[in-house]
C-alpha cells in the first residue's frame, strides 16, 4: 500500500463538478475517480462533453470541485484557497495548450521564460534556461524570432519548452496535436514523451487524436463525467466512439 502511495502522482476520488444554477444544472463530473502514476504518460480520452477538460482543470487546480478529493504529488488541492492553488500551479505544473497560447508580441525565448519569471527568477537566468531548452526542442537560433514566424509544429515545440522550462513534476497537455498534421503530431508527442520521461514526472494528455494513442503508457476512457475504464493497450479502445 505504501509503495502504491509512493508511485501515485495524481489521484482524484469521488469528484463531482457541475455548472449553472441548481435549477439548470449541467453535470460535468459525477463521482469521478482518476489516478496517474509517477513516470507515466497517461491519456484522457472520450467523446466531446464527457468531462475530460473539466477533469483536467480540476487536476490542474484551475477549477475547484464541489465534492471529492484531489491529490497531486502528495498535495491535497481540494480545500486550498485561490492563492495557494496559484502558488501550487506555479511550482508544480507545466501546460501545453491546444492553441499554443504563445504571446505573439514576445520573442520565442521570452515566451519560454514566462513560467520562470512568474516564479520570480532573474531575467538573465530565465533567458539562459529558455535558450538551453529551446536547443533541446530543436529550435536553436530561433530564440529572438516571433512565434508567428514559426510553423505550427515549431510553435508547439516552443509551448512544450515553456511547459518544461521550470521542470514541473506534472505536465498537463490539452489536445496538443489537434492543430498539427499527423507527422508533426507524432514528432511532438515523441518529444513530450522523451522530455518528460522521468520517475518524478507525470504527463496527463487530453486528446481526441487516436493517432497518438500509441505514445501513452495508459489510456483512461471517460464517459458521462466519470472514468469508464483504463487500458494499457490502445488497441483495446473502440476509437470510433471518440
Amino acid at each position: 500500500m505504501s509503495h502504491l502511495a509512493h508511485t501515485v502522482a495524481v489521484r482524484a476520488t469521488g469528484v463531482d463538478m457541475f455548472f449553472g444554477t441548481p435549477e439548470n444544472r449541467v453535470v460535468a463530473l459525477k463521482q469521478a475517480d482518476f489516478e496517474a502514476r509517477r513516470g507515466e504518460l497517461i491519456m484522457l480520452v472520450g467523446p466531446s462533453g464527457c468531462g475530460k477538460t473539466t477533469l483536467l482543470s480540476v487536476i490542474a487546480g484551475t477549477l475547484t470541485p464541489q465534492a471529492g478529493a484531489v491529490e497531486v504529488f502528495g498535495q491535497r488541492l481540494d480545500g486550498l484557497g485561490q492563492e495557494a492553488l496559484t502558488s501550487f500551479r506555479r511550482r508544480h505544473l507545466g501546460f501545453v495548450f491546444q492553441s499554443f497560447n504563445l504571446i505573439p508580441t514576445l520573442t520565442v525565448a521570452e515566451n519560454v521564460m514566462v513560467p520562470l519569471l512568474i516564479q520570480g527568477r532573474p531575467y538573465g537566468e530565465a533567458r539562459d534556461r529558455a535558450v538551453a531548452i529551446l536547443d533541446k526542442v530543436g529550435l536553436k537560433g530561433r530564440e529572438d524570432g516571433r512565434p508567428n514566424a514559426l510553423s505550427g509544429g515549431q510553435q508547439q515545440r516552443v509551448a512544450i519548452a515553456r511547459a518544461l522550462v521550470h521542470e514541473p513534476p506534472l505536465l498537463i497537455c490539452d489536445e496538443p496535436t489537434s492543430a498539427l498534421d499527423k507527422d508533426t503530431g507524432a514528432q511532438i508527442m515523441q518529444m513530450v514523451r522523451d522530455l518528460s520521461r522521468s520517475p518524478e514526472r507525470c504527463v496527463v494528455v487530453v486528446t481526441h487524436d487516436h493517432r497518438i494513442f500509441r505514445f501513452a503508457d495508459r489510456i483512461a476512457e471517460m464517459e458521462d463525467g466519470r472514468i469508464s475504464r483504463v487500458v494499457d493497450d490502445p488497441r483495446l479502445l473502440d476509437t470510433s466512439q471518440l
Binding site: T53, L56, S57, A60, T62, L63, E83, T86, S87, F88, R89, R90, R91, L93, F95, F97, Q98, S99, N101, I103, P104, T105, L106, T107, E110, M113, V114, P115, L117, I118, Q119, Y123, D174, E175, V206
Partner: protein, 396 residues
Amino acid sequence: MYRLALNMLFGDLAKLAMLLCGLAFSALLMAQQSSVFFGIMSWTYTPMVNIRAQVWVSDPMVEQVNDAKPLRDTDLGRVRSVDGVAWAAPLHTSFVQARMQDGNFKLITLVGIDADTFAGAPAVLSQGRIEDLRLPDTVIVDEWGAALMGRMGVGPDGQPRNTPLKVGDTFEINDIQARIVGICRVKRAFTGGPFVYTTYDRAKGYTLGARRTLSFMLVEPQKGVPPAELCDRIERDTGLKAWTSDTVIWNWGERSLARNTFWWFWTNTGIPFSFGTAVLLGLFVGIAISGQTFYSFVLENLKYFAAIKAMGAGMGVIARMLLVQAFTAGLVGFGLGAGMAQAIGRVMIEKGMPPFVMYPQILWATFALVLGISLVSALIGIIKVSRVDAASVFRG
C-alpha cells in the same frame, strides 16, 4: 514580468501608436489650452508688469488694474505724508484713440508718468532715451505698437509705409501731436492697445475734458518697511486702497493687485469656462481613446493573460503588469503631448499671439491627469482580466 509586460506593449506597434496618439493628444490639449489660458490671464495684469512700483494706491472702489477710478490730485500729498513712504508718484492710465497718418484710429493705453522721477517708466528702451520725454509733445511707444501703427502710417511718397514707427515719427492723440522719442519693450496687454508713455502733465492734455486724471499712485516704501505693512498704513491713514505689486502667480499675496485682477477676470468673463471646457474635453477624449484602446489591447491579450494565470501568476502580478503597461504608455504619451505643446508654444511666443505661459505646474498637472487616464485604462483592463477564469485556457 515587468520587462515582458513592456515587451508585450511595444510589440504591437499599431495598437501602441493608437494608444500614444490618444494620450499625446489629450496631454497636448490640456497643456496647450492651459498655457494659453494662463497666457491670456497674465495679459490682464500687464500694467503691473510694465509699470513697476512696490505699492500701488487707488480709489477704494477699484477692483482691478484696468479699471482705474480717478483720484484727486491732493490725495498724492496725503499718501506722501504716511509714515513709511519713501516717495509717491502720480500715474495716469487711460484708453484713448490715436489718429494715424492714414486717418485710421487706434485704441492705445496712455500711461502718464511723473516727469521728475520717471517712476513707472519702461525698463527697456530699444530706441531713444527716457529723458527726451521732457521735450514738448513727446511720447514713447512700445515695439508691438510701433509695428502695428507703422502699418497705418504713410510714407513721404503718400504710400502706406509698412515699416514700424521709429524715433522722430508722429501721430495724434485727441488732435494733439505726439512725437516719438523712444521705442520701449514691454509686455502686451489684454485690452490689445499699444502702451504709449508720456509725462503725467502731458497726459492731462491728451485726455481733454477729464476733470481728474490721477489714476493710481506709485509708492516706494522706506527701507525696511514691508510693502504689505505699508499698504495697511496707507489704507488706515488715507481711506484709499493700497496694493502690493507681486505678479508671480504662485506667490502673490492677499493684497496683490495682479491677483485681484486675475480673479476679477476669472469671475466676470467666460474665459475660464471656455478654456476649462477645452481642458475637460482633452481629459475626456484622453480617457475615451486611451481607455478604449487599452481595453481592446487587453481583450486581444485576454487568452494570454488567462494562460499566464493558469501558469501560476497571481492577479497581483498581472495587475502590476497592466499598470506598468498603462503608466509607460502614459509617460510616453505625456512626453509627446507636452513636447508638441512646447513646440506650438514656441511658435506662439515668436509670433506673440496668442499669449502662451507654460508654468511648471501646468506640466505637473497635465502629467498627473495623463497618469490618471492611464490608471483608469489600467483599472478597466484589470477588472476584465480578473474576471477571466484560468480554466478558460482549456476551452480552446
